[in-house]
């Protein structure tokens, strides 16, 4: 929808209207330039002091930072000088650009959203970035005004969308607020080591500008303490864990500061999340775009009953930082509680009992896991015999077999599906239990897959392509009868096109699916 004619109307047409001339063009707030420049001067100042105090330090990181700073500030100044906007009775218009002029005009009745964001620098100067959207499905919002005074931003929003007032608390229901012990949940992650690594890497380069080489110091310490290579690695990993945890914790706090999930009746009903310490972020997820909810529960964290919830919705723009995550990682009870408000029709599909898939699914999974492990072992044995790999590697898959069986058994008990009112519920997963409740209206077709073994065992894999969320959800190894009943129940009109009812006396024989 990028070539939308309404957004590309040339300015000359508009200028002809008498009413348009009455409205003066307005500028952005000059404070944004001063704040940016001040930040740049401050960082340049510290860099220079640093260089003066430690003349042996590396110079080039500072030079690059300075070059970027100067470029950034001048671009900012040009942007401020060349951007103007106005709101007439009929249109919202902007003129931007210096070498490449860009005029944009959108009819006011097409404006769908006015959102504000703010970085730390904006908050210091009481400024806000205003995003005005015309509801089209594309990455950038139609207008981005960086930045306006806070009051002016609020004024603009009220002017363009009279109904949308953030302080109108009576039409909002708070579904969930962040609890501070959740910060510990954020620390139990596989990424702990990686986070520590990134942090240490940043420290290394930062200290390098002071002429201090942290690697040399660490190396010297390790040699002095007479640690071998293995012990050094073990020690570094052990020390990194709490560090990584702290980094992840700090990240969680900055990201989810004052987090709240709210249901509002504005914009025809929407789910709103507000969060952030240094840069606040408000995301509207309109009800008309929500198609369901998806919950992940990692197996390793089962003992903490942790879950991660996302809404299944169309038109999410990753590049605009709109995520489908409606809650930070938190206890599954909290997720179910929130889900009741997210899908407020009282069906509670996430808590409904599911149909078990046939035992054949478990047998198939066990056989598959065993044969795959054995094939892998045979392959490794062969490679070991031909001296490509160490000879003992073939034992690894064999020793791990019981663990594989356990995971397979767990994944079978998780398998399930159900039709709950207008929702199709699928549950799958091996290392992470994934439960999705999808509205029937989101079903954009069916994809049924049956291997030769599934045909013998009267099982089939049911898949739903959809325009929302992950765009494809499936229930592996459902019983054929279960699957067809599900399809018929969820989309009777579509099922009539390819599923037929058999009279009891002519069953069997020529039936391909049974």
């Amino acid at each position: 929808m990028t070539g939308d004619p309404a957004t590309l109307t040339p300015m000359s047409e508009v200028d002809g209207q008498p009413d348009a001339e009455a409205q003066p063009w307005q500028h952005l707030d000059i404070r944004v330039v001063w704040v940016n420049a001040a930040i740049f001067l401050f960082s340049l100042g510290t860099g220079l002091t640093e260089l003066y105090l430690f003349p042996n330090g590396e110079l080039w990181p500072l030079l690059i930072a300075a070059a970027f700073g100067i470029l950034d500030t001048s671009v900012d100044l040009v942007r401020w000088a060349t951007t103007r906007y106005r709101i007439t009775d009929e249109r919202v218009e902007t003129r931007t650009g210096w070498l490449r002029r860009e005029d944009r005009s959108v009819p006011r009745e097409r404006i769908r959203s006015v959102d504000t964001t703010a970085k730390l620098r904006h908050r210091v100067a009481k400024l806000r970035i205003v995003h005005i959207g015309a509801g089209e499905e594309r990455l950038a919002s139609t207008f981005k005004l960086d930045a306006l005074p806070k009051d002016r931003a609020t004024e603009l929003r009220d002017e363009l969308i009279p109904g949308q007032r953030q302080e109108a608390a009576e039409n909002e229901v708070v579904i969930s607020k962040v609890r501070w012990h959740w910060v510990f949940y954020a620390m139990f992650q596989f990424w702990v080591i990686l986070a520590a690594g990134i942090f240490l890497n940043a420290c290394y380069w930062f200290m390098k500008t002071f002429g201090v080489d942290l690697l040399d110091i660490a190396d010297a310490l390790a040699t002095k303490a007479h640690l071998g290579f293995t012990w050094t690695v073990v020690l570094v990993v052990l020390l990194s864990m709490p560090l990584g945890g702290a980094v992840l914790g700090a990240e969680f706090i900055t990201k989810y500061w004052n987090f709240e999930l709210v249901r509002t009746t504005d914009k025809g009903g929407a789910l709103v999340t507000r969060q952030g310490l240094f840069s606040t972020q408000t995301v509207y997820r309109e009800d008309r775009r929500i198609r369901g909810i998806h919950v992940h529960e990692p197996l390793v964290l089962r003992w903490m009953r942790l879950a991660q919830a996302t809404v299944v919705t169309t038109g999410i723009h990753k590049l605009r930082n709109e995520t489908a995550h409606i809650l930070p990682r938190c206890p599954v009870e909290e997720v179910h509680q929130a889900a009741r408000y997210v899908l407020p029709d009282g069906h509670n599909p996430l808590e409904a009992p599911l149909h078990r898939h046939p035992m054949g699914a478990l047998r198939k999974r066990l056989l598959e896991a065993t044969s795959q492990s054995l094939v892998l072992a045979a392959l490794l044995y062969w490679l070991g015999a031909t001296d490509v790999l160490p000879y003992w590697w073939w034992r690894i898959p064999v020793v791990l077999l019981p663990l594989t069986w356990a995971v397979v058994a767990i994944s079978y008990t998780w398998l399930g599906h159900a039709l709950v009112g207008p929702y199709v519920v699928f549950r799958t997963g091996a290392l992470s239990k994934s439960t999705v409740a999808l509205q029937s209206r989101a079903i954009a077709g069916w994809r049924l897959h049956q291997t030769i073994f599934q045909r013998i065992g009267k099982r089939i894999t049911v898949g739903i392509p959809t325009a929302a969320g992950e765009r494809y959800y499936h229930a592996p190894d459902a019983g054929t009868d279960q699957a067809l009943a599900l399809i018929k129940g969820a989309t009777p009109w579509l099922a009539a096109e390819f599923i037929e009812t058999v009279a009891p006396d002519e069953q069997g024989g020529r039936n391909a699916a049974h």
Partner: protein, 172 residues
Amino acid sequence: MENMPPDVSTETLRIRPPRHRLSPRFILWRTLNTFFWAVGVLGTLTVLYAWFSGIRPWLGPVTLFLAVVFAINVVFMPTYRYLVHRWETTDLAVYTLTGWVSREWRVIPISRIQSIDTIQGPMEQLLRLATVKVVTASREGKVTIEGIDAEAARQAVERLNEITQLIPGDAT
């Protein structure tokens, strides 16, 4: 179980295969296609085998295995697929059945169609065959009908285009 409509659990349901078969020339097309692939892949591997003596211990068995797979694919697969594959377009949906060892049924409601393409490669043009591709907002919701008669494809696409214009899209 408890949340099933009662009438569904008592009756037996089954999948009805789509109405139309592919063109019989599909067998020739697919055979030639697979044959050229086999020549390309096995030829490359043979050249590598002749050139580098170091990789022969493992390349030999791999090449042999692939040769057997390709032989089966050239001799049996095209006919088998011809016997299995079916397609159909109605006023409400596009419906296909594909596969040979495994089976796959795909149904797309007309209202979700985003675009309809007709594709004819050089060999397909020679054999008067065509491939029809129906695309939706989901990558998994794509339907490809390979190897139908070019004239039948033209008519089907024309009809689909007519219906899609009549039915307002709800492709959100």
